[in-house]
């Protein structure tokens, strides 16, 4: 079976979720682009978008319609050549409209997993729950009418384990998109011990067609991305625990969150990122990692407590941010949870005193979104971190300690063989987390 054979019939499990919907979007467009190639005229492409929620599937279709339009608007130059023979399609608007129909026309939303049985490629993007993944993958494997290839979007569970438990005998590969898949450039590719080489070739080709950067990760729980992110988060939590006795919990969270965002020039603070990913998701990832990586202290009683209290973060169906460690108003942090009071303390109360305590960021500081647009970004960052390095304020000290720990974690991943090279760790952060620089750097030496 060649590339187009494989992609003629695809199923995405967990299609309406945060990751699944992005995977459906990118895959459906790739399939539509194949279907528009005259060489594939006789094929009938179909993407079965399988999810347990009817409501979420309706939302998925709305999301697809909007996103396909956006994408089509960016590639109209090419689309005009694709539809050159269609004399009824003259204006850009008509051509874009036809493309939207062609993409949506091959997406079959369904709540029935049986729809996946005829697929050549099955993409699994359900919750980070080992038993559930094994059950579904096993069910599709047992009933599949073809020798399907399985791609899993797991962000932490070792591929060889899933493969073995679901009886996939090498037909599974880890294909880990970053959130949101339509935006983040990165795919972490994880071969289990038995992953078939031709599946790996397919996965690389598919990633390339989706214009993603591929970083290989060794099949170790958490891989590179979460292997770093979780330890980075645990560092932040331990800093909060260290500062809390003197400064109080909410103030400490505020300071570490602010330092990790503004002083370290990241797109969001570490606790906001944890909320964005979902504290419950972080908890499952930590569990998966700690159960498999004996040496590490990879638990966070704080995260466990918050989840137990129902404080989970993550997103509502409409994509808006749920409250987590932080409270959000119109998507922006507005308060911080105080477990003792079981209530959110407004930022307006916390921020002035904490900002004073932290001291001002370096004078060269610019917001992350400006920094990523600077042509000579490396030059700017050199100057910025040199200035930070010379500062003695609490904010600067916390930032330096944070930066050093982030580097140590990155080097640890290389030392443990999870990442092949330091560059791979940095690429994951530049293209999966949209950071302005990678954690393995000389800024904090």
């Amino acid at each position: 079976m060649d590339y187009a054979d494989r992609l003629e019939n695809v199923a995405v499990l967990g299609a309406a979720g945060k990751m699944g919907s992005g995977i459906v979007l990118l895959t459906a467009m790739e399939m539509a682009d194949l279907s528009l190639d005259p060489a594939n005229k006789s094929r009938a492409f179909a993407l079965h978008a399988v999810d347990i929620s009817e409501k979420a599937l309706s939302g998925l279709m709305r999301y697809l319609r909007d996103q396909v339009r956006r994408s089509a608007e960016k590639k109209t130059v090419w689309l005009r050549s694709v539809y050159a023979e269609r004399s009824d399609l003259v204006e850009n608007e008509e051509i874009i409209g036809q493309y939207i129909e062609d993409v949506l026309g091959l997406v079959r939303p369904t709540t029935r997993v049986e729809a996946a049985y005829g697929a050549g490629v099955v993409f699994e993007a359900i919750n980070e729950n080992l038993e559930l993944k094994v059950r579904l993958l096993g069910q599709v494997r047992a009933n599949g009418s073809r020798e399907a290839w399985f791609l899993t979007n797991t962000s932490s569970i070792p591929i060889h384990e899933l493969d073995e438990k679901a009886g996939l005998s090498g037909r599974l590969i880890g294909f880990h998109f970053y959130n949101p898949p339509a935006v983040q450039k990165l795919v972490e590719l994880i071969r289990g011990g038995t992953t078939r080489p031709e599946l790996a070739d397919f996965a690389v080709q598919y990633a390339k067609k989706l214009r993603k950067s591929v970083v290989p990760s060794r099949d170790v729980a958490g891989f590179i991305g979460n292997g770093h992110f979780m330890r980075d988060l645990l560092h932040a939590v331990s800093e909060v625990e260290r500062l809390s006795p003197d400064l109080g919990f909410a103030d400490s969270v505020y300071m570490i969150n602010r330092v990790s965002q503004d002083f370290l020039i990241r797109p969001m603070g570490i606790f906001q990122l944890a909320d964005y990913v979902g504290l419950d998701v972080c908890q499952s990832i930590l569990r998966v990692m700690s159960e498999r990586l004996s040496a590490a202290r990879l638990r966070s009683p704080l995260v466990d407590n918050l989840v137990a209290m129902g404080i989970t973060g993550g997103q509502y169906a409409d994509g808006s941010q749920k409250d987590g460690i932080l409270k959000y108003e119109r998507g922006r942090p507005a308060g911080i949870f105080d477990p003792a009071r079981k209530a959110y303390v407004p930022l307006t109360e916390i921020a002035p005193r904490c900002d004073e305590r932290l001291g001002a960021p370096p004078s060269a500081a610019k917001p992350w979104k400006n920094v990523i647009q600077i042509a000579d970004r490396a030059g700017y960052l050199d100057g910025y971190f040199r200035e930070l390095g010379a500062m003695k304020t609490l904010g600067a000290e916390l930032a330096k300690a944070y930066g050093r720990r982030a580097k140590e974690i990155g080097l640890g991943l290389v030392k443990d063989g999870v990442a092949d090279r330091e560059d791979d760790v940095n690429t994951v952060f530049l293209t999966g987390f949209y950071h302005a620089y990678g954690p393995v750097n000389r800024y904090f030496d």
């Binding site: 960016k74 130059v77 003259v90 204006e91 850009n92």
Partner: protein, 415 residues
């Protein structure tokens, strides 16, 4: 062309801000003024200077595609919306693609010459940010030949037509020097716009404009030979000016020094269904300028400032040649020697032109007349240039479509 039987003047110009990307107050997600608001602001801006609508005999409004951008036709009936006193008076809407404004001016001039009006309120308007650029390209493609050209045309239809002109020019006269001239043209446009607070590029703070202008074109996302800085932006704006006779000036209580006199004009149409014979020449523009100069009895040596139709850098360059300041293939040197800059021999597009000030397509011709009036009557504020006494005239060239509908006008300060 026959000598005019009466003297015709333009006065009391006004234009709105050119709104669109680049302006700090522009937010595509927030509600913005509509077509009527622009027409009202510009119209009232002129009426205020001429003693109100009671002094107006007639209105002309120029616009291209309100029927699609704003789902609005019958624009002549929006002239009375400017002021109650314009109700029950004649009004005409004219359309000739991006040359609509020029057609509006000559329509008004002809009415004054015919003696059917002494004061004509002339408004030009386009409100285009109602759709994204990729759909705006569809709408503006109507300025080309739809049945003959659109299907085979590019997603960015007009940029591509002028990209083809740029490509032909590169081939004939060399790419490097021409691209550098484009970049200089861009820099001049933005530097002029930074002096004019209504300009769309007024807030542009880029330090190295020529480097930006030299950005390599990206044919995958845009067109082959032009980058986005070679193009005028999508603008919402309106401009208005009063076209009057001597009697009209008196009626409005204005002195001749407050007006410019129309010395001559050239209005030329090419066949929409026939492609340009030579992509490296704006033949219709050349013919219009020849006519205008002939009617004015003037030579290029008397022209002190020019408003040309630089919808793209290549059209700015080709305009320099079509007007005759530089011979074929010599436009790049002329521009690179600084002759079109505000300190140069012939300052071009002193408030930024289409690339710098903005390009409210159907309104541009009127906006050009307003800029000329501001320059010649010393009302240009920070963007005022010195028009030398031995070169007292100004020239405006307004082009519709791919050099199809062109109006050129020669002016001088009245006395």
């Amino acid at each position: 062309m026959k000598k005019s039987r009466r003297k015709v003047f333009m006065t009391a110009g006004y234009h709105t801000v050119a709104l669109g990307t680049g302006r700090k107050e522009f937010n595509p997600k927030k509600p913005r003024p509509g077509l009527e608001d622009y027409i009202r602001e510009a119209g009232q801006g002129t009426l205020k200077q001429i003693g109100g609508g009671k002094n107006v005999d007639e209105g002309v409004i120029s616009n291209i595609m309100a029927a699609r951008f704003n789902r609005q036709g019958n624009l002549a009936a929006l002239i009375p919306a400017i002021d109650e006193s314009l109700r029950w008076k004649p009004a005409t809407r004219v359309e000739g693609a991006c040359g609509s404004g020029g057609l509006g001016l000559v329509t008004a001039v002809k009415s004054v010459l015919a003696g059917t009006a002494e004061v004509v309120l002339t408004v030009g308007v386009e409100v285009q940010n109602t759709v994204k650029a990729i759909y705006g390209a569809d709408i503006l493609a109507g300025a080309g030949w739809y049945r003959g050209e659109r299907k085979g045309g590019h997603a960015y239809f007009f940029p591509s037509l002028f990209s083809d002109r740029a490509g032909a020019y590169f081939e004939k006269y060399g790419r490097d020097r021409t691209r550098r001239a484009f970049a200089r043209w861009y820099r001049n446009a933005i530097e002029n716009a930074r002096l004019c607070e209504t300009a769309q590029e007024f807030h542009n703070a880029c330090e190295d404009l020529e480097a930006l202008g030299l950005t390599e074109p990206n044919p995958r996302a845009f067109v082959d030979h032009l980058n986005v800085y070679d193009c005028s932006k999508v603008s919402d704006a309106a401009a208005a000016i009063a076209v009057v006779s001597e009697e009209g000036l008196d009626r409005c209580g204005l002195a001749k020094r407050d007006a410019v006199e129309v010395l001559g004009w050239g209005q030329v149409e090419a066949d929409l269904t026939i492609p340009p014979a030579d992509l490296t020449e704006l033949e219709t523009s050349r013919r219009a300028v020849e006519r205008a100069l002939g009617a004015a009895g003037a030579g290029l040596g008397e022209i002190g400032t020019v408003e040309c139709h630089d919808c793209f850098t290549i059209s700015g360059l080709l305009s320099v040649e079509a007007i005759g300041f530089a011979g074929p293939g010599e436009g790049p040197d002329y521009i690179l020697e600084g002759k079109t800059s505000r300190q140069g021999e012939i300052p071009f597009n002193t408030s930024g032109g289409l690339i710098g000030w903005g390009h409210p397509t159907g309104g541009t011709g009127v906006r050009q007349a307003v800029t000329v009036w501001q320059q010649l009557t010393d009302r240009a504020g920070k963007w005022q240039v010195k028009v030398p006494s031995k070169r007292p005239y100004a020239l405006s060239v307004n082009m519709g479509g791919n050099d199809k509908t062109v109006v050129a006008v020669v002016y001088r300060r009245a006395d």
